[in-house]
Amino acid sequence: MTKKLIFIVFLLLAAWLSWTLWSTPPASSTTRKLVLTGSSTVAPLAAEIGRRFETLHPDVRVDVQTGGSSRGVNDARAGLADIGMASRALKTSEEDLYSFTIALDGISIIVNRSNPAAALSRQQIIEIYTGAITNWREVGGRDAPITVVNKAEGHSTLELFLHHFGLQNRAVKPQVIIGDNQQGIKTVAGNPNAIGYVSIGSAEYEAGHGTPIKLLPLEGVQASVENVRNGSFPLARPLNLVTQSEPAGIVRDFIEFARSEQVRELVEAQYFVPLAR
């Protein structure tokens, strides 16, 4: 008897579960949809900001789609998206659009803290990454082979790095390929002869919390969040929201929200650099 009871309860539970899974909550007729398209670098941050924006504005749905910075700019111009996302400054041909910087993205070259090499020139970095220089002795370090750490294809840090140094990814001769920043930092921290590059925010945080890595200056400028923010660090770029016309209504609210102090920790959680206040 009890077994039968348990069985019936189980059946009811299963029925309830499947009912909740199949049925969708009724859509409110007053819902306003905000569409953002563009850069895959900005998209995760925009999605986080959008989620928080939705809780403040229950009648708004924020829809974030990726497709590259150029798609973001084109969609904003054509009106296909309310807001375009671009991980670069607007080109001169795009100055009819409005752009709003929500955060900055910078990359630092990192080596192990025990590495005596103090700085590398642009040419030296290019030669190390293309395999022309393979020993630290050639650039003022100890006599040891260089372990080149590169990012996996598709990552925005890879894109920015290659673009800055004018490299093709197929020309790079890496010994280790990593996915995220943490893996890069752990690899360099564990290998005294490794060189890699990661987002400046995460590198500065880890170096300040005892991880044995060293941020190398670039073109004479110290690699720090501060120097990215004041624009003096060369390996950096702005993350922009782009609109076709002077933003108004909900679009203006979203952009103001994305630039406000309220999303600062969301920006930092993605290892981007928040704007100066």
Partner: protein, 292 residues
């Protein structure tokens, strides 16, 4: 006593709901596998159509953002890592099972079995973290850069060893006492009994364990991603970095678009077919003669 309850050929009325529930469960499991396969085929179709299957084997290298899609180096990476791990883990796993079953004193055997079970319960990312921060630098001291095929093989061997040891142990425990008593009555030595009676009798159980372990080795992602170095190439030695198919999907999927994304699904499909081929081969092998 109602004897019809023991009749297993004709399910009684009381069995009917259970029967349908079990049928539902079996159907769900089968449907999920088929759905996954269908999903993989649908998602990889754009790449199969636009890129063509031949280029996945014939291109110069894997640079999907530059339009080159050769994933053979990664397929070989998967195969090398798994085979190497099996080579290490199969003998040591079986040896561990034999030790705890017939050679260790009872108290040690119990403790040993608990330890192996603990080893099986450690999450793969912990193995990966340990490999990245401890094992890879150690290998690096021997031969730079440390993150290498060897590191991957060692980590994977450690991960699949408990699977092999525990399934072999369970299979050995199930050998009928009569077989062992028979062996004892014939005056066989302990090793004679193990090699002549126990191991042949548990052949299919141990093979199942090895199959499970091989599947885990091929499917493992996180730990391998952290210790293998992930350079797309055919390794010349154990110290060269390699990238496996699973690591490739994990590394690139979050950022991939268009044909690149579809190409990653193709590599997932290839992995699934490899797995199917392996299960099929194991099925054929275990059809041979069997003692128990």
């Amino acid at each position: 006593m109602n004897w019809s309850k023991l009749n297993t050929l004709f399910p009684s009325r009381a069995d009917q709901p259970l029967l349908w529930l079990l049928r539902l469960c079996a159907l769900t499991a089968a449907t999920v596998v088929l759905l996954i396969l269908t999903f993989l085929v649908i998602e990889s179709r754009p790449a199969l159509r636009d890129v063509g299957i031949a280029r996945f084997f014939g291109d110069r290298s894997w640079h999907p953002t530059e339009g080159e899609y050769n994933f053979m180096p990664m397929l070989s990476g998967t195969v090398y890592c798994s085979l190497g791990a099996l080579l290490l883990a199969v003998p040591s796993g079986i040896a561990a099972a034999l030790f705890s079953r017939w050679y260790a004193p009872a108290s040690v055997a119990g403790l040993f079995r608990r330890l192996i079970e603990l080893l099986a319960g450690i999450p793969s990312v912990v193995y990966g973290l340990w490999g990245l921060t401890t094992l890879a630098p150690l290998i690096g001291r021997l031969h730079a850069p440390g993150t290498s095929l060897l590191a991957g093989i060692l980590i994977l061997a450690l991960m699949i060893l408990p699977t092999i040891a525990l399934t072999a142990d369970a299979a050995l425990a199930a050998v009928p006492q009569a077989y062992l008593r028979g062996a004892a009555a014939l005056g066989l030595s302990r090793w004679g009994m193990i090699s002549g009676v126990a191991l042949p009798a548990t052949r299919s159980g141990i093979a199942t364990g090895i199959l499970l372990a091989a599947a885990r080795a091929m499917g493992e992602t996180m730990a391998v991603l952290m210790v293998c170095g992930n350079v797309v190439q055919y390794p010349d030695s154990l110290f060269d970095p390699v990238r496996t198919l699973t690591a490739n999907i994990a590394l690139e999927m979050a950022y991939a678009m268009g044909d690149h994304r579809a190409a990653l699904f193709v590599s997932g499909l290839a992995l699934m077919l490899l797995m199917l081929a392996m299960v099929g081969a194991a099925g054929l092998l275990s059809r041979g003669r069997r003692y128990a």
